[in-house]
């Protein structure tokens, strides 16, 4: 019997650039050409000023731990509890949900505001997830 798999994202035309980016080892965000607002998740217009003139750029991949839970039960398919579900605030401003790797999944190790950096976890040959690890140095 096959192991239950974690939920796999299915890109849409509006989000394809993001998933192409993670596959290439880049965390891509969008910036409004009119008002400079940086936003996530992807969409082909600015949610702040409604301009359709927006650009995709490579983000620094740096941020900090904004908040999290350590999920014990019920566990999602493909996950072994306990595991942290985190929200990371990126240096560019937007926040995104993620997992924290290379770090014990405990309240003691997962300190709010700790510096994080992006890493990439390939789920299959189509989808690579951005995850985060404690920043070095």
């Amino acid at each position: 019997m096959a192991e239950p798999q974690r939920a796999r994202p299915k890109p849409t035309p509006e989000t394809q650039h993001f998933w192409d980016g993670t596959k290439a080892g880049e965390l891509r965000l969008q910036r409004c050409d009119a008002c400079a607002h940086v936003y996530f998740p992807p969409r082909p217009f600015c949610p702040s000023c409604a301009s359709r003139k927006v650009s995709v750029f490579k983000a620094s991949g740096k941020g900090f731990l904004y908040s999290y839970v350590i999920n014990h039960r019920p566990a999602a398919p493909g996950f072994t509890p306990p595991y942290a579900i985190a929200v990371v605030e990126l240096d560019e401003g937007p926040r995104m949900m993620s997992n924290i790797i290379d770090c014990p999944q405990t309240p003691e190790a997962l300190e709010l505001d700790m510096k994080l950096e992006v890493a990439f976890q390939a789920l299959d040959d189509k989808i690579t997830l951005p995850v985060f690890r404690p920043a070095k140095g």
Binding site: R6, R8, P41, L112
Partner: protein, 379 residues
């Protein structure tokens, strides 16, 4: 909207609450509706407006044999019924219909005739939250809690006291699921669900339903029950993704809906005799007290831990025992509304003496939506 122009003239829950293995979700809608119609002394044919969530209006109207001229299928999660009350009041005032029935029911525990919830892999939630292991509300709703605690200096003990106080209220309520007293230590020693929250800080999972009937305040005088007037209303939505809230220090939807309702009612916080804040999880009353402007967020944890919201306290909160101890079928807003109506009628099991104004505040999804209703029993 003008205040006190529309009133609740019928209100009832399903005959049973808790575990109901002998009825489908659709039948629970009907059971609640028939109870509310009997409570109002009406016939099904008197209903010309209808609202419900999750199930469609056509599904429930056909099952009940209702032929409406106005329907509302707003479905934004557990506070949908607060929004229905607001929309129904506007529709009655505008003359679109005269007598509105609002139903909720959920076979949340027995799962009979209930469609499973499903997150599409190409939705934004499916792409940007589901892959990280979120799995049901306990893994999502508490995600803001640690940030909220750090920002405002809220303690684990204070968050545990929410469950303790609500159990005190539930002990007074024969229909509450959980009535045995608990302590802060009991809460902090209960099974871990999603740190920082443990079992007793998470809502129950039950079966049940409820229904309300609204009509114009002028007509309401002729009904058998004491009318409960809609004094003020508010609503908003923010985001379906908890990770995308503007901040974890408050809820934008709460901060929009709550003040709208207070303004429309023309009341100040000191005027509130009774308060319901939808408590799917233990942090929601803290967010609610702060976002509705009762006090700075910093004070909310201490306020509850000090006993101000318990029986005999100065701000009676979640007097049915709440989603933590009374019942929670999945969309609890209807039960909060039912308790506000009981308090305004003066018939609640844990009645607040001489209560004249009740504020009922709901959440939908994981801070995705919000609705606030101010009720009064004086026109």
């Amino acid at each position: 909207m003008r205040k006190n122009q529309v009133a609740v003239v019928g209100a009832a829950e399903t005959t049973e609450l808790g575990v109901i293995p002998n009825a489908s979700q659709l039948q629970l809608h009907a059971d609640a509706a028939l109870n509310a119609i009997a409570d109002a002394g009406l016939k099904l044919s008197d209903i010309d407006g209808f609202a419900t969530a999750v199930e469609t209006p056509q599904q429930v109207c056909h099952y009940l044999g209702i032929k409406p001229t106005w329907v509302d299928g707003t479905s934004v999660g557990g506070c949908s019924f607060m929004l229905h009350v607001r929309h129904a009041a506007a529709a009655i005032e505008a003359g679109l219909c005269k007598t509105v029935l609002i139903t909720h029911a959920e076979s949340g525990k027995s799962m009979i005739g209930k469609q499973p919830r499903f997150t599409a892999a190409d939705s934004l939630n499916g792409q940007f939250e589901a892959p990280y292991g979120v799995y049901g509300p306990p893994s999502m709703f508490p995600i803001p809690v640690l940030r909220f605690m750090k920002t405002y200096g809220i303690t684990h003990e204070q968050l545990a006291s929410v469950a303790v106080v609500q159990r005190e209220w539930a002990a007074k309520n024969p229909r509450a699921m959980m009535k045995d007293p608990i302590t802060v230590a009991d809460v902090l020693n209960s099974r871990m669900i999603a740190y920082p929250f443990r079992l007793l800080q998470c809502c129950l999972v039950t079966d049940g339903g409820g229904a309300l009937i609204l009509t114009s305040a002028d007509r309401a005088e002729d009904f058998p029950r004491k009318p409960v007037y809609i004094m003020g209303t508010g609503e908003s939505v923010e985001t379906p993704m908890v990770s995308q809230m503007e901040t974890f220090n408050s809820s934008r939807a709460f901060k929009t809906a709550g003040p709208l309702a207070f303004k429309e009612a023309g009341i100040a916080h000191k005027d509130v005799d009774h308060l319901m804040i939808y408590d799917a999880f233990a942090h929601l009353p803290l967010f609610g007290l702060g976002d509705l402007g009762f006090m700075p967020h910093e004070e909310t944890g201490k306020f509850i831990a000090d006993g101000n919201t318990r029986p005999g306290g100065k701000l009676p909160l979640n007097t049915n025992g709440g989603g933590l101890s009374y019942m929670h079928s999945g969309m609890y807003g209807m039960y909060a509304l039912q308790e506000s109506v009981r308090q305004m009628r003066g018939i609640a099991p844990a009645q607040v003496p001489n209560a004249k104004i009740s504020v009922c505040h709901g959440v939908g999804g994981m801070f995705a939506a919000s609705g606030t209703i101010v009720f009064t029993n004086e026109r």
